[in-house]
Symmetry: none
């Protein structure tokens, strides 16, 4: 089974697919240019309505993560480089926002903020491939 989806989860199935595919790409488990299963394949594989797969793929395409080439299939885009300037600013704002949420949640379950920081370091240290990007400092 190419993908593992939990139909009982509260996050919609199409969203789970989006998250999982983006995660694989980010971790290098899905290389740029590589081909994704067709909607039909995946639908019968997961025993899920094809419309659900289609919705996930459409959203991924809209985000510029994958691209559909008529008659050939669906592929991971070469590079998703965050654009500079205004777009970058909003992207950073979004990341900051997500981090704030993590801290708020940590507070309410009684986890010290320092532990959150340490946890992040561990995750980054174990991250598969961070191919020579430069910090924008």
């Amino acid at each position: 089974m190419w993908l593992r989806i939990d139909s009982r989860s509260s996050t919609p199935m199409y969203q789970q697919m989006i998250d999982e595919i983006k995660a694989r790409i980010a971790k290098g488990a899905l290389a740029p240019q590589s081909r994704l299963p067709s909607i039909r394949e995946l639908a019968s594989d997961l025993m899920i309505n094809p419309n659900t797969i289609a919705k996930a793929y459409q959203e991924l395409e809209r985000e510029g993560v994958i691209e559909v080439i008529r008659g050939r299939g669906t592929f991971v885009c070469r590079e998703q480089e965050g654009a500079g300037g205004a777009v970058a600013a909003s992207a950073r704002a979004q990341v900051r926002d997500m981090l704030t949420r993590v801290l708020v949640e940590a507070h309410h379950v009684g986890i010290p903020l320092a532990d959150v920081s340490r946890e992040l370091e561990v995750l980054i240290a174990g991250w598969p491939e961070e191919r020579g990007r430069y910090s924008d400092e």
Copy 2:
């Protein structure tokens, strides 16, 4: 206006309220024991149906964040419990999960992971009050 809600957002209004109130408490902007506006007050303030406010308050009460005192009003709880035992494990797993999401998202918008880490440090440094909790190291 006590709270700012975006009725056009895709996240439900009641969820926005929950998030915002938890954030304020976590940041110390809403002190323990302090009183929240009554459902009717907030409803007329935000021009939102009272049922929507009630739903948010009920969920916050269920989470142990606020408490209702009959006929008197709604108040921020004294203390959010420290993480202990099985609860702590799942809470930490959740935090790790949220952090992973942040890293995945950062990758896709082209933000170096080191920048995410730095951003987190900045947020923690500016966090209003972290009253002497101990890391569990």
Copy 3:
């Protein structure tokens, strides 16, 4: 403080008073004929609205547990003997209903029914005074 009431509890304060007073009588901590504090005394003692006390006392009087004697005060009734016949049947039905609830709850939290039974035996064994009533067998 004669009585301990939790204003934060989800069970109404007047109901807590009813439960507690009935429990004390059942356990012999409040003897028949003994005098209860006046509404005013209790209200100022607990810093609670007198109307709330009055409501509890009224309900207890309606149930035949206490009696108000004009100008003298409020007293625990001599004996609350369950009447025979039809009343007894409905009383037994109520008890059976409560026991069923306990078993349902026990099931859902994963407590074996045998443990519930054992727990009940322990409670009965430690019951202060069961003055020679006869089982109706």
Copy 4:
């Protein structure tokens, strides 16, 4: 009629539904995995507003008794968790509390405590299925 609800009862209708459904599951009358009627079905069946049914279902889901599968319907959960750790302790305390209430009530209606005990034995003996749980002795 799948469910019997008393709209004149002082216990809210949604609470009656919760109690009844949990009771059926505990007695094995509603098997794990089995499907509950849809909100709309049940609403028109009972001539009750769908929102009221939804509230009951949501609470049951929160308690981990049933689960919603998107677009498919609502189902009884596979297994109710066994009581372990801190949860177990508070669960047992709650059961003890409920039993105490029963004894207090029995006293006041004149039912000997021994009869309560016997009644419980009868209920347990007639309990549909108690599939090999172990007492924690």
